[in-house]
């Protein structure tokens, strides 16, 4: 007997192997982990407070004390960038969780039940999809005050539509597969089928679209904050920093450049990671198609 162990090759191990070969996706993953960690431990990384003003200092160029300079109110830009990251990532993750909580069960029920229920449920999604939601979110923010929790909810409530459609398509395809039919044949309960057989099989897709939804949501948050309708000062957000930087770019260009770079790099990383994960976890999409 040889001592070679049987190769354990689950979907996850395979996918990880494939993802590791994708340098852009791995670079994205590393940058994201670094940025998220830095934002999370912001209070320990910087001696300054994000809201403490130092008007005597004013807008100063990058220096040893203030790595990225200070804004017109004398606040340390590096600190404000870190705290802005906290806001942006938090909005991104929370709103995406909201979209998952609505979209996944909705799509799964619709796809699994099929028939009339399915067509009615999808018709509703189709109709909602054509509504101008960004505008509705703006109004929501204007009318009910610029509340961060409201923003999570509102953005998540838009994004669930896409999630529901994708999950429904997956579940619909899975339902006709032999292993689900045999599970039904041996009398497995509906609950068991959904949780033991369906959900684990759509997990990959859920992960892929979660990583693709987060940048959308962050974009929306920065968009709103840029217009002055999202996060309000003295809180910090990348959209807010870009807006403030753009207002004074002629005299203090560094106040625009570093937030713009950090935000773009984040979006880059997320898109590369999302594309890489899609290639690794979703066999229907090959690199050529994206």
């Amino acid at each position: 007997m040889s001592d070679s162990k049987p190769q354990k090759s689950s979907l996850w191990a395979d996918s990880w192997k494939q993802l590791r070969k994708n340098h852009a996706a791995i670079a994205g993953l590393v940058i994201l982990i670094a940025l998220i960690t830095a934002s999370a431990i912001a209070p320990w990384l910087t001696p300054y407070s994000y809201e403490e003003q130092n008007l005597a200092l004013g807008a100063s160029k990058p220096s040893i004390e203030h790595w990225l300079g200070t804004d017109t109110l004398g606040r340390d830009l590096f600190t404000r960038l870190l705290y802005g990251g906290r806001t942006s990532f938090m909005v991104g993750i929370c709103a995406t969780v909201v979209s998952l909580l609505i979209g996944v069960p909705y799509g799964a029920i619709s796809g699994y039940t099929g028939g009339r229920v399915d067509s009615v449920m999808m018709r509703i999604v189709d109709i909602l999809y054509t509504m101008p939601f960004t505008i509705l979110v703006i109004i929501l923010m204007v009318v009910f005050g610029r509340n961060i929790l409201l923003m999570f909810g509102a953005i998540g409530a838009i994004q669930w539509l896409v999630m529901a459609r994708i999950i429904r398509g997956q579940v619909l395809a899975l339902r006709k597969q032999a292993f689900i039919e045999s599970a039904i044949a041996i009398g497995a309960s509906r609950r068991r089928i959904i949780f033991k057989h369906i959900i684990p099989n759509v997990l990959g897709i859920i992960i892929v679209y979660t990583t693709l939804t987060i940048p959308h949501v962050m974009l929306m948050e920065t968009f709103l904050s840029f217009l002055g309708l999202g996060i309000q000062p003295p809180m910090s957000s990348w959209g807010l920093l870009i807006k403030d930087g753009a207002a004074v770019m002629e005299t203090y260009p560094w106040l625009l450049i570093s937030p713009a770079i950090v935000f773009s790099v984040t979006l880059f990383s997320m898109n590369f990671l999302g594309d890489g994960l899609r290639d690794a976890l979703d066999p229907r999409f090959s690199k050529e198609r994206s």
Binding site: M131, F144, L219, G228, I242, A246, E250, P253, L267
Partner: protein, 306 residues
């Protein structure tokens, strides 16, 4: 086909009605009336104003009234600019936004299709990597990052264009690029993807075997089918360009409808917000329907299924 178009047009009614209803009640149920901020008004004057604008009636009556006026094409007065109606404001600002949006869409289509086709002809070569790398940059550079950077570089440092305004023809360049870049990027990725899918099919090989010129094969045969995903993207793209105009018009100080909407949002000019949203919703929803119908015309399979 006629049935398909009719059905699609009928569907517009509930979508529009739901949008209008949500916005109407959100705006009316907001804490604080439109005149509460005006400290200079006496209670009496506010009561008179409320009566003048019909705000003293029950909310359902107001809603009914609003819908009736809407059917007549009347979007009501603006609270902030008492001498002008919402209709006047739209008449003034819409042509500007339309020009900006249409130019941005043309830019996105032209650049996107060209880059996508070029990339698809030699996949995984430099000819592919350069446009696709640029496309990724376009997607990751939202308008509110790209716009200020373009102004900084081409407006302030190089001095090629005005930093803001909408008078000269050259004032169009930076805003159009800012607004269209992300869509050009997305369209190029879509085009490349579907070109690569269509290129290996049998009928393309047949076309080549018939001895047709390469240009004929690509533009007359492949592109026609590869265009479907791009056409279906036009609906969401229009909606995106519309909301993108809020940012771009604000950045470049363009007197269009998007900037008007942002100003109205800041001033809490509820009737103007409501009027503009109804108009925006109408644009988005109608354009979506037009795109769907166009798709139905292009692709008979879609008609059969729906």
């Amino acid at each position: 086909m006629l049935k398909f178009i009719l059905r699609r047009l009928l569907e517009l009614i509930p979508v529009l009605l739901i949008s209008i209803t949500i916005v109407f009640f959100m705006v009316r149920l907001a804490p604080g009336g439109p005149f509460t901020a005006e400290k200079s008004f006496s209670a009496e004057a506010i009561a008179r104003l409320n009566e003048h604008y019909g705000l003293d009636k029950p909310i359902l009556a107001q809603y009914g009234n609003y819908l009736l006026n809407l059917l007549k094409g009347d979007l009501g007065p603006s609270f902030q600019y008492p001498s002008r109606s919402v209709n006047d404001i739209i008449k003034e600002t819409f042509p500007v936004s339309l020009e900006l949006g249409a130019l941005a869409m043309l830019f996105a289509l032209f650049v996107g299709l060209l880059a996508g086709i070029v990339a698809s002809l030699k996949p995984n070569s430099i000819q592919d990597h350069v446009p696709m790398g640029l496309a990724m940059t376009g997607i990751c550079m939202p308008s509110f990052v790209l716009g200020p950077l373009l102004i900084l570089i081409f407006g302030l440092w190089l001095g090629w264009f005005n930093a803001s305004g909408w008078e000269l023809p050259s004032d169009r360049v930076l805003p159009v690029i800012t607004l269209g870049a992300a869509y050009a990027a997305y369209i190029s990725r879509l085009t490349r993807g579907s070109m690569l899918e269509v290129l290996p099919s049998d009928y393309i090989r047949t076309a080549r075997a018939k001895g047709l010129s390469e240009a004929n094969v690509i533009y007359m045969h492949t592109l026609k089918n590869a265009l479907l995903p791009v056409v279906s993207y036009l609906g969401p793209a229009t909606a995106g360009i519309l909301t993108g105009s809020f940012v771009v018009e604000t950045i470049f100080n363009i007197p269009g409808m998007g900037r008007m909407f942002v100003l109205a949002a800041f001033n809490r000019d509820y009737t103007l917000i409501l009027g503009l949203v109804v108009f925006f919703a109408l644009l988005v929803v109608v354009f979506n329907a037009v795109v769907d119908i166009l798709l139905g015309l292009l692709n008979p399979k879609l008609r059969m299924h729906s």
